[in-house]
Symmetry: none
């Protein structure tokens, strides 16, 4: 069982995936976790809920060390994964009292008057031989098939992403480390903002040539932010650290964060450390910035609140934007962005405020202000800064890019102002 880089496949089951109705995000999440632990993911497969295809797929990967399945463990008739795996591993299903009690707790937490039904009882059936992982956030337990020496260790998890992640973090990860003792692959990650990817590549070119190729420098671009990732070597660490110091020096003001956190996690952390409060006034981002910040635990200590000012009346009455300014310069203007930021800072009595106003699209553009034109303003108690951007013609990209740019700009400001 103990191999250094266990050969691994991720299999997601669901007709909705192969017909393109949903994007399979489980595979990427699992791929990243497995890779970081030291597993060698050689294949990701998505297949429909059809027994003959599930059996054929199992047959193709039966020489692997580890298989992670997600999907098809729900209570409805189209959920056939468990039965197929039991057939393939020659296990039987037996009712498990612990799992049944967990399911009752979940069901009754949602509605205390509901008793568990026959379908819930089917979900409490566990393969024998076989093991299970408890699920405290949903009704489908994780399943382990590891009793056949001629077949891979197989773990089956529910397809609902948060249930899959919960079981991974509360059981699967420890089980895999104990079973396979893989050699972890560590990495270091930097958040870069304010420079296009091609210019960044040019800036880093000479430095990049001095790197060991095994560190596998990767550029991971997303709207408004580029992540740089390097794999940490297990030896030679002094040379690696020297290169990292050089990188930080070269990136200078473009470096807005570091580590395995998201930009909003870093921001909430910095605000908390500096005892600063924040508020938001959003037009084109429509609440996304507030949502990103409040998705982080502990946000309530630093985030006072926000105003989504879609209608101009709301900009005037709640944010104190001057009707005259709105008339003269239009809602998408430097003047309105700055008045929004100052207005929300005063209303919410916060130390810092972000404001956004722009034309997200797909319609609403003019020759002078095309779709993608955005003003971002950041106010402190003393002053207000603003900046114009022209992004894309795509609504969702414009919203995401504006939010990420505003958040990374605010981070940068906190660092440079040393408020």
């Amino acid at each position: 069982m103990k191999t250094n880089k266990p050969k691994t496949a991720i299999v997601t089951i669901g007709t909705e995936i192969v017909i393109g109705q949903i994007t399979d995000t489980n595979s990427q999440w699992l791929g990243q976790k497995l890779f970081a632990l030291g597993f060698d993911v050689q294949k990701m497969v998505s297949i429909p809920d059809l027994p003959e295809i599930i059996f054929k797929t199992l047959d193709e990967i039966k020489d692997f060390d580890l298989l992670i399945f997600t999907g098809g463990l729900g209570p409805t008739d189209d959920d056939i994964t468990k039965q197929c795996l039991c057939t393939f591993y020659n296990s039987k299903l037996e009712l498990n009292q612990i799992v049944l009690d967990d399911i009752r707790e979940i069901v009754q937490r949602r509605n205390s008057t509901v008793e568990i039904n026959q379908r819930n009882r089917l979900q409490a059936m566990i393969p024998s031989p076989g093991k299970f992982f408890r699920n405290k956030v949903g009704t489908a337990p994780g399943l382990i098939f590891d009793h056949r020496t001629d077949l891979p260790v197989l773990i089956a998890l529910p397809g609902v992403p948060f249930e899959m992640k919960w079981i991974w973090e509360n059981g699967v990860q420890d089980f895999l480390i104990e079973t396979f003792d893989p050699k972890p692959q560590e990495y270091i990650q930097f958040f870069v903002s304010g420079i296009p990817e091609s210019s960044l590549a040019e800036l880093l070119e000479p430095w990049e040539k001095s790197l060991n190729p095994q560190w596998q420098l990767a550029y991971l671009p997303s709207p408004g932010i580029i992540k740089l990732r390097l794999f940490k070597p297990s030896d030679d660490l002094s040379l690696f650290n020297q290169r990292i110091d050089e990188l930080q020096h070269i990136l200078g003001k473009f470096l807005v964060g570091q580590g395995d956190l998201s930009i909003e996690e870093i921001l909430v952390k910095k605000l908390t450390e500096n005892h600063l409060t924040l508020s938001t006034a959003e037009s084109c981002t429509g609440g996304k910035i507030a949502h990103q910040i409040t998705s982080i635990p502990g946000a309530s200590n630093v985030f006072k609140g926000g105003i989504v000012a879609y209608d101009n009346m709301v900009k005037i009455e709640l944010l104190g934007v001057s009707p005259h300014t709105l008339h003269q310069f239009g809602a998408v203007s430097q003047e309105v962005a700055e008045q929004m930021a100052v207005g929300v800072l005063r209303r919410m009595q916060s130390d810092l405020a972000i404001a956004t106003t722009g034309i997200a699209g797909p319609s609403g553009g003019t020759p002078e202000k095309p779709v993608g034109t955005v003003w971002i303003a950041v106010a402190t108690r003393q002053t207000v800064f603003s900046q114009k951007y022209i992004f894309t013609t795509l609504r969702d990209v414009n919203i995401t890019r504006t939010s990420n740019t505003a958040l990374s700009w605010l981070l940068n400001l906190i660092q440079s102002l040393k408020i």
Copy 2:
């Protein structure tokens, strides 16, 4: 070559995919297009840029009718797809002048002083026997291998999403229709809310037994909403429609929408049709509801704005919540939720308003109000409704479930009130 439902696989090649560095969005896009055209996608596979794994994968799917490959056609050394496919299909590479001219045009459009280099010439090498699709937005042409009667028709496209999509729309789609003459597959979809998946399955059990299995009823759950999907048959439509009528009757108030739209798209559509405006007052959802609504084009016609009232001071000063009520019942209470909804409706002068207040977690719970306790209120100009929920212990799930529940509840209300 002409089969009714050509058996199809989508293969994406790239080490960055299997180590979880990027999400493969090409497969979903292609899956949706292929399904709509009438192809039977039985498999999606992602594999690293390694020849032995590419050959093994080709071997596993050599009995398919159609294979769509993306990735590994770039100019750098790790791009090996073309060479592997030529080996498998027994083709040779030959320089193609049309492709070379296309590449020169692309390169010189970016920088007119640059001459094409040896790597660009390699990209202009086309398999023989074989065909190609021109690429006017990048340097890698699409490739067609269709000369081997013992092997599937194989189309290889670049992995960069916009290049892949451009070639699909400007060549691949027409080629596939002409070559395979597939029969398009339609489906029908219902949004259900307010009932757990297992209870829904029980409710539908007798009805489900009367269905033709080929319609493949599927349950697609997400926090707060379950989608039901049925494939529309090409004949027997009267029986199908009769079952659909029955379903609508059985679902009753749990049915909140229908079609291929998201819940927020349906809501914006309904509000627009009924000339109704909406505003939001969000505490625990922190702006997510406003963000979901404003992510839909045309939201500005129906959405006045929102207030994210994280701090109690904001609830009092901007939403007019009584300090006495806050003190007596706490921020997470029916009274505060209702005052928030009424308050934002008045401030924003909207026809409808949603308010949320709850304990998203992970901390902040008490024995009487555990993490996951949420009050949702919906106000009209005449009245206000409210409802308590107890969701999970997970912050992100509580936020998503509260948002989706509030949106589907509002949809329900619009339908039942016939405002």
